[in-house]
């Protein structure tokens, strides 16, 4: 009798623990999903704690993946470089608008319309160069 009630209590307790764990995992998943939308830097599986809990439950060890770290770092590096480049172009365009005094290079505004008369013209072929790059390696060049 006592044994039955203890088993029932344990079964109930297990059910309750499972339910709490599911709710907790669901809550974590929601936070992670929202975080991913707000801050894509965390869009990496190693930060998904739900999986970590699952792994811990099954007695699996957690290993940090260095390649994932370097992947994020390279993405950050590329983003910073491209972002800085775009920003620099925009700011230099803005700065160029501050300078409106420029010497005229030519007299195109004063060319008499239709006055160009070509007396003679010639197009003579001189020589040619061919640069060959091997298709497989692409390292060595030959010039002929």
């Amino acid at each position: 009798m006592l044994g039955d009630s203890l088993r029932a209590h344990n079964a109930y307790g297990n059910d309750v623990r499972c339910t709490v764990k599911r709710i907790f995992n669901l809550f974590l998943s929601l936070i992670v999903t929202l975080t991913l939308f707000a801050c894509p830097i965390f869009a990496d599986e190693q930060y998904y704690y739900g999986d970590l809990f699952d792994d811990a439950d099954y007695g699996m060890e957690y290993y940090e993946d260095d390649t994932e770290d370097s992947g994020i770092l390279s993405r950050i590096g590329i983003s910073l470089a491209v972002g800085f480049g775009i920003s620099l172009v925009i700011v230099l365009v803005m700065r160029s608008k501050m300078t409106t005094v420029r010497a005229a290079r030519n007299a195109a505004n004063y060319v008499v319309s239709g006055s160009l008369r070509l007396r003679s013209q010639s197009d003579n072929y001189l020589y040619s160069n061919t640069v060959r790059t091997p298709r497989n390696t692409g390292n060595s060049n030959s010039r002929h």
Partner: protein
């Protein structure tokens, strides 16, 4: 064969020799082989090269009629040396170039009489409005400069210009390339063919202006071009009433170099536009001879605006005929770095988000 030794290699400029093994002219320096006809035609192109030759007729200089300049006064700036002409009804107190006080020197005399003048079509209010528009939409402009900027005096100045009419007879040689890429079983190949292209012909120019005032910055005056020459009328001293006029102090001969330079560049550009079908075209040699060159002395209307900020002088100019407004503005270094770094942060975040999204997809 002795004749061949005189040929220069179109590729590296070395002396070409006849190679008996390939039975072709060959450059011993760069190993490029040529057809004999090719070298002959290239040599004839080279022999056609000649130096620039600019001939001008300055006979259009006018003289003041008797009594015409009596009503004109000359003021001189003790600071920059500028000499200003205005009629005796116009009070001139400050130099339009450096904003320093000017003093009356005396009666005008001895100068050339302008052939033509373009009267002012836009008034002082138009110049003020143009300045306001000029300051708008400039995020890097210091706020203090915009808010506290007040031009003490806006002056309408007739600026002396020499106008040059000419016909350019040019002989231009270009080096052109055609690039073709193709693939064989073993190689990716890029073939570049080189051509010697020549163009000879003529091009006419009318009314190229070069300012005849040493105090007036050339680039400032060239920036408010073009003036509409059809609006020019015969000079009358009445047009000076209410405005200042600068005396020319750069002679027509000394101004000519600037006109020649612009004519030469435009001629090369115009001929260059007839060289089509190539991957690249660069000018190798050009000789421009100016013929039928004529000059005129004219006065063009310019509104001058000066202001000083942070001990630095800023000069603005507006074309008094067309309203084109120019003038360099100061850059707020703080704003520059804020925009640069802030923009970099925003752009980087966007780029990172895009990269991440692409990897997730």
């Amino acid at each position: 064969m002795a004749e061949l030794l005189l040929y220069k290699c179109p590729c590296c400029g070395g002396s070409i020799e006849f190679d008996s093994t390939v039975q072709k002219p060959k450059c011993p320096y760069c190993d490029t082989e040529f057809e004999l006809d090719t070298l002959k035609s290239y040599d004839s192109d080279l022999s056609g090269d000649s130096a620039d030759e600019m001939n001008w007729d300055d006979s259009s200089e006018g003289e003041w009629r008797e009594g015409e300049a009596d009503g004109l006064r000359v003021y001189v700036c003790n600071s920059c040396g500028g000499e200003i002409i205005c009629d005796d009804t116009t009070a001139a107190s400050k130099c339009p170039y450096c904003d320093n006080p000017i003093i009356m020197k005396g009666q005008l005399g001895g100068d050339l009489r302008p052939d033509l003048v373009i009267p002012f079509k836009l008034d002082k209010n138009a110049a003020k409005a143009a300045l306001m528009r000029h300051l708008e939409g400039k995020p890097l402009l210091p706020k203090v400069f915009k808010d506290e900027n007040h031009i003490d005096e806006i002056k309408g100045v007739y600026v002396p210009f020499w106008l040059y009419d000419a016909e350019a007879d040019a002989n231009v040689r270009y080096r052109a390339t055609k690039v073709r890429s193709y693939t064989t079983s073993k190689y990716n190949c890029v073939e570049t063919k080189y051509y010697s292209v020549t163009r000879s012909g003529t091009l006419a120019f009318n009314h190229i202006p070069v300012d005849g005032s040493s105090k007036m910055a050339d680039d400032l005056m060239e920036s408010i071009e073009p003036f509409d020459y059809s609006g020019a009328v015969d000079f009358q001293t009445a047009y000076l009433s209410g405005y200042l006029a600068d005396r020319y102090d750069v002679s027509v001969e000394d101004s000519r170099a600037r006109a020649n330079s612009r004519i030469k560049t435009s001629t090369e550009d115009a001929f260059r536009n007839t060289v089509i079908g190539y991957s690249s075209v660069t000018t190798e040699q050009s000789s421009v001879r100016v013929g039928n060159g004529k000059t005129q002395y004219v006065l063009y209307p310019v509104w001058m605006l000066n202001t000083t900020w942070n001990n630095q002088k800023y000069t603005f100019a507006m074309n008094g005929q067309t309203g084109k407004f120019v003038g360099n503005l100061p850059v707020d270094k703080g704003k520059f770095w804020t925009f640069l770094l802030g923009g970099a942060a925003v752009c980087s975040a966007i780029v990172f988000g895009l990269i991440t999204l692409m990897e997730m997809m």
